[in-house]
Symmetry: C2
DNA sequence: CATTAGCACTCCAATCTTCCGAGTGCTAAA
DNA sequence: TTTAGCACTCGGAAGATTGGAGTGCTAATG
């Protein structure tokens, strides 16, 4: 069903007002706050039609109307006005990004903080992960007689390390020789390739003490499993208290239980279902959000070197979508810009 | 004022009951549930005296009594019965600790998870920090023509790293020579010693390109500042919903706003005020908890190699102190035992 | 003199009642 | 097709009612 222009205007007016006030919107409100040139009776008729079509809902007979999930969807896709960031907001963002030496680990963390402050919702991001990470160098560095650090440096400059203690004493020269061999042998290999099979074949070719090679290879195997190790991190979880829907303890419980640590798998999979462009998930549109009245705006960020992740805002379905979407878009574009031009930069991901 | 035996028994009975029920405790309740051999009238008289002395409070005239902060203090210090962990609980703990290769970063994290599950409160820990960390080795490992990774390996086996990109091309041999010199020069140095003054003196003695040495030294300076970098991490924040005091949205807001990320400085300082043994902070005993009805039980853990931190439980003042204290004590002793015997072990702190 | 039964009194919290008004849907006129 | 007008609905705020758990005091008791 295609909506008439007037219906669209009325729907937009209702959703705009509802987002601003969190109160069901009545026909006379629309009359007062929007210049539609028709009477409240006409608006009522149109509202009834919009309800019939599934875009609006009534909490009860004598209340105003509230957008349905479908209503929000139409609003997000077609109706809402573009929100433009204020100068102050843009300044906040740029000054936060202009630290001289950015540690990769912190960049996205602070961005997520900024997001939550600017929008007054909760920000979520997944830690960056990369496909096609290859080994650039492997080092075994002695710490004391019976322990050394195994290091794998990747093409992205990330460093994975593990301290290994041994029962025997190994000469630094032995470790160095093994380092060199491993670097030579595995340079350019994808970190996902360190399967037990590959390594056990390899093991027979290396004339080194078994304890040593076993420990190192176990580290490598663990690495290949770690590729999937994406975490979900949040900031501004208590921002929800700024919104009236969370004056009810039940809503609050629902929300906090949804975003809690134990639930990160579900959130991760929810985020991963979105595509390459900024997308909006509204209430029941996704089964895991069933009856939770939660919406998400999900975006993608890239830190260069193939490191990518999701950055999202989560909040009540009555969310200021226009503001959230434009803030998110602006921020992710800033990140991409900053990181596309890699200067000297810390890298803490391991 | 020293309490009579009977007063102590009554006070203990009231606090025990209140911890279990979260309801103000009346004289007839005590009569029913505890065998004190006196009538409710006598108990009432004693209760009035205990209130007079500041150990109890009345929410209103016709309600039962509730412990005051002072009451809890006496309870924790003198009255409460020892709680002994059940076999199931001990099994849960040991099986969680018996992973073959423990990553240091995860040990304390999973311990904190276990804590929150076992106690139904929120667990907090500070990331381990160490005093007297010294440099064991410095490496500069080439990644590609114009970038390399600078690594500082400490006596504890922790690895700090930063990826550095340069405008000029440096031969691997140059980097290796510099590595060797820096390792030789700074081996055994405390990481706190890399002040700009020390380093700028040093700089003149090293016949290497300035860009290179500047970048590396900036990394070292940053390291020395980083020593103080202790984070506060929580698990089980939504456990509070299991306790009836958090059926009120205001209590919940207060609590969540107190433990939120922005507040970690205050929490850190609160934790650091405690000594070497397990200690309890009850309600208004500390100004930052003023009128928040929050208590903490704080303990110390040690991961070996000088790495130490605080592990704590935070919850309402009506907390099952006996259970929390004994769980916390048992867990920290387990950690200390496990880590005192360092086998091959991952180390992810950097 | 400490203890206790008895009783009047207090006051919260749960439940019920009342009532206001914002909002609707329908009808009939423009 | 739009609109003025009107009867009707219903949630929620404000007030009234009531029950019961709990107290403090007094006077009797061993």
């Amino acid at each position: 069903m295609e909506l008439s222009d007037r219906k669209k205007k009325i729907l937009q007016a209702i959703i705009d007002d509802y987002i601003a006030s969190a109160e069901p919107v009545g026909s006379s409100h629309i009359l007062k706050n929007h210049d539609l040139g028709v009477s409240s009776a006409t608006i009522r008729n149109e509202m009834a039609a919009l309800e019939e079509a599934g875009y609006l809902e009534k909490p009860h007979t004598s209340a105003g109307r509230v957008p349905s999930y479908l209503g929000y969807r139409v609003y997000v896709d077609q109706l809402m006005n573009e929100y433009s960031l204020s100068v102050t907001e843009i300044n906040q963002i740029t000054s936060a990004l202009r630290t001289k030496y950015l540690e990769l680990r912190r960049v996205i963390d602070s961005i997520s903080d900024i997001m939550s402050v600017l929008t007054d919702y909760t920000a979520i991001y997944t830690t960056p992960s990369a496909t096609g990470i290859t080994v650039s160098n492997i080092k075994l560095v002695p710490v004391d007689e019976r322990s050394f650090v195994a290091l794998v440096i990747t093409n992205t400059g990330a460093v994975k390390n593990r301290t290994i203690r041994t029962s025997k004493i190994f000469e630094p020269a032995v470790l160095e020789k093994l380092s060199n061999y491993l670097s030579y042998r595995f340079a350019g290999c994808d970190t996902g390739e360190f399967t037990p099979e590959v390594l056990s074949n390899e093991k027979n070719l290396i004339p080194v003490d078994e304890e040593l090679i076993d420990a190192v290879f176990e580290f490598l195997t663990d690495l290949s499993n770690e590729v999937e190790n994406v975490d979900v991190v949040m900031s501004g979880t208590t921002n929800i208290f700024k919104h009236p829907e969370f004056n009810s303890i039940d809503r609050t419980k629902d929300f906090l239980n949804f975003i809690k640590k134990d639930n990160s798998k579900i959130i991760k999979s929810l985020l991963s279902q979105t595509g390459d462009s900024t997308s909006v998930i509204i209430g029941n549109e996704n089964p895991v959000l069933e009856n939770k009245d939660i919406s998400l705006v999900v975006s993608n960020y890239s830190l260069g070197g193939g490191l990518k992740g999701k950055l999202a805002i989560i909040g009540p379905t009555r969310m200021d979508y226009a503001k959230v979407i434009s803030t998110l878009d602006y921020l992710t574009s800033c990140i991409n810009e900053v990181t596309a031009n890699p200067d000297e930069r810390k890298n803490d991901f391991d």
